[in-house]
Amino acid sequence: MLQAASDPLMKVENLVVEYSVGGKTIHAVSDVSLEIARGETLGLVGESGCGKSTLGRAVLQLRQAVSGKVLFDGHDLTTLKGESLRKMRRRVQLIFQDPIASLNPRRRIGDIVAEPLVIAGVRDPEERKRRVSEVLSAVGLDPTLVSGRLPHEFSGGQCQRICIARSLVLNPEFVICDEPVSALDVSIRAQILNLLEEMKARYGLTLLFIAHDLAVVKAVSDRVAVMYLGRLCEVGPSEQLFARPAHPYTALLIEAIPVPDPDVRPTMSVPVGEPPSPIAPPSGCRFRTRCPRADARCASEVPELRVVAPGQFAACHHPLI
């Protein structure tokens, strides 16, 4: 396989996910393959609407794929059903972008964090309480102070801590973080990113870290996958990808990051427009309508992911390296 993970915990093969809206098909995820090694953080980045959340949900079997496989620890989740799927799912958790909206406003924090335990059939209330206290302390909240309170009494950053605690309470191996810091301010964002790194080390997690901000993704990821309009453009080790992007879209994303240095004058960006509709994606390379290097071949032939440097793959007919 092309992504060189020696011991993949999660393996996505040729995943296709579509939505049907008003008789039209939205090509949300088209033929995506990925591997995530045990203990690794893979960052997934791309503009909003490119299919990141859909991919995450399809991995968790919260959205059925049209075709393709999702192999978790060797088991194809797309074919598992009933109790065996539930068992497997317990090992995989999800953290959402909007921490406040993802907490039930009428339930107390202690109950919210304990909920996965209840669903998983942990009957002993003492055992549940012990686990809840442990994860709340781990995310930096005082269990005795917060357990009895309601979500609205907490700030966005604290709610995200609570969501992280809830996602950890079943001792998962794999956590999908879907834009966990996009709604947070710079200073709180840094706290939560640091917390995720601590939790990863403490609980031995493997992470799929989704964001639309490349700088944030780079801060926490070993490797980065860049997605555009449902397809993967480029995958590679974070630093390498930043230093030498191969795909013109990756280069565009890097160039667009605002640099907090007045001596770095923002280059008047090429008028690259906006992504086209996923209902009728462009033929050939989906990025071609915004790509400065596009030619006739790009319109007729879908570029395959190919190796461009050790561990780095790009889907482009005319890569930058």
Partner: protein, 328 residues
């Protein structure tokens, strides 16, 4: 400041809330010269929007404003509603984070642009229409003539923001206030919108206030930056001077907390611990003191005043500023 297009003098905005009085803007002084760009930076809740609404005289009804807002020689706090309405369309314009704040969902883009233009400029329908097409072209909207018949919901978020900018620019304002115009947008769209604003500003020799929570956004695109914390301006300087030497610990911490592109992954970020104070429970001392690593002595009992240091243009509010020459 003499000769400024806009000067805000000792502005205070108080909001009554069930928890008591909330001071959203706390004794703010600012000035913007004609054709200049001021960046206002701070985390959410620090009072950026209330300050911009105070300038525009668009505060919530229950809000209480004191201080003066001098724009183009007039104190806006003393103008009638009618005069203000004229001024806002004509020489003082605004773009909000959510473009739907300034767009009407039930009117076509053409109707909104043409109406705004005709309300403030003496143009007939054909001329106003022509001008609308020019404006949509200027803000980078493809097929502008077709867009005139479309409704805002038929456009993407980025396109809607371009339309909102076109509406704001339609009467050649002297000052444009852009309140987090790109916060809801993707980085690639953000870069295009910021370029667009910069280009139109230069072309029209318009003054601009860009409000953002991202120091990266203001670094290359403003002449001066004001950093806000808990309702106050805590540091203000010409942009190059500020980035060369940050004196107020909060500014420095805000910059440090940004993910850097040139450090390896998994490097812990220098986060600012804790969070801003509850604005209904103002602190006696420096509002940043519970989070400040330099806090000592009178920091917790006395409020530092915004005052100049080595140069008259670089102001900061801190008892123990970061030593000159030790910074970035």
């Amino acid at each position: 400041m003499n000769g400024a297009l806009l000067s805000v003098e000792d502005a205070v905005v108080d909001l009554p809330t069930p928890r008591g009085n909330l001071r959203a803007v706390d004794h703010v002084d600012l000035a913007v010269g004609a054709g200049r760009t001021l960046g206002i930076v701070g985390e959410s809740g620090c009072g950026k929007t209330m300050l911009s609404r105070a300038i525009l005289q668009l505060l919530p009804r229950k809000a209480k404003l004191s201080g003066r807002v001098i724009f183009d020689g007039q104190d806006l706090t003393t103008l009638s509603a009618e005069k203000l309405r004229k001024l806002r369309g004509r020489s003082l314009a605004v773009v909000f984070q959510d473009p739907m704040t300034s767009l009407n969902p039930v009117l076509t883009i053409g109707t909104q642009l043409i109406e705004t233009i005709q309300e403030h400029l003496e143009l007939d329908l054909a001329q106003a229409r022509q001008r609308s097409v020019e404006l949509l072209t200027a803000v980078g909207i493809p097929a502008p003539e077709q867009r005139l018949t479309q409704y805002p919901h038929q456009l993407s978020g980025g396109m809607r923001q371009r339309v909102a900018i076109a509406v704001a620019l339609s009467c050649e304002p002297k000052l444009l206030i852009a309140d987090e115009p790109t916060t809801a947008l993707d980085v690639t769209i953000q870069a295009q919108i910021l370029d667009l604003l910069a280009r139109e500003q230069q072309r029209r020799h318009m003054a601009m206030i860009i409000i953002t929570h991202d120091l990266g956004v203001v670094a290359g695109r403003t002449d001066e930056v004001a950093v806000m914390y808990a309702g106050r301006v805590v540091e203000r300087a010409p942009t190059p001077a500020l980035f060369k030497q940050m004196r107020m610990p909060y500014t420095e911490a805000l910059l440090a907390a940004l993910p850097k592109l040139d450090v390896p992954p998994h490097t812990p970020l220098p986060a600012i611990s804790g969070r801003p104070p509850d604005p209904t429970r103002p602190l006696k001392g420096c509002s940043f003191s519970p989070r400040c690593r330099y806090s000592a002595g009178r920091c917790s009992t006395e409020k530092p005043r915004l005052s100049p240091a080595e140069t008259l243009e670089h102001l900061y509010a801190c008892f123990h500023p970061i030593a000159a020459g030790s910074g970035a």
